[in-house]
Symmetry: C2
Subunit: 106 residues, 2 copies
């Protein structure tokens, strides 16, 4: 395993890791349909404002979302159009696993 390959997987893992949190998945879902400011997101997520702000920073750091500042408000939005494929994969795994557990009772 050469160094370049490992770095590629680390870069991918960093993005996956940014998505791997229930609140952040919810936020991505919301921001895919509409631009939202931190206050609105805070209400939806139901956590402290500072917590939401840090989640947003994580998503922004890997380039999944972007900000547009309008006065005192910060409007966030999803930058890439590929999230549906991502979410569908998660759903597919969930569904498959439920089926398996139904039939084999593992």
């Amino acid at each position: 395993m050469n160094k370049k390959t490992r770095q590629q997987y680390e870069a991918r893992a960093k993005i996956a890791k940014a998505m791997a949190h229930p609140s952040r998945l919810l936020m991505l879902d919301l921001l895919q349909n509409q631009e939202m400011c931190v206050g609105d997101l805070t209400n939806e997520v139901g956590a402290d404002q500072s917590t939401v702000s840090k989640h947003l920073a994580v998503l922004k750091d890997v380039g999944l979302i972007d900000v547009r500042k309008e006065g005192a408000l910060s409007y966030y939005r999803v930058t890439c159009g590929c999230l549906d494929g991502f979410f569908m994969c998660l759903e597919s795994v969930l569904k498959t696993d439920v089926e398996l557990r139904k039939t084999t009772l593992k």
Copy 2:
């Protein structure tokens, strides 16, 4: 945010979290093309055998991979056919982000 919705996002996040590690992403990549046993995977990943075994347990726990035991060997393979969409999304985010950094020098 009701309880059922939160649980759905937690279930999705659990799967995303299972994928969110460079070694596990590599292993998923490898296991998508071919069945492999723990020893071979250990060589590819370049970590301790016990470490690889635990990574495999994480992936198996969320239903991303499955095992077939043949004597003393354990052959692992990917169970779902949706991983390409997942990986393509990661690549897309990476690529977009690189472009942005090129043009805006943020």
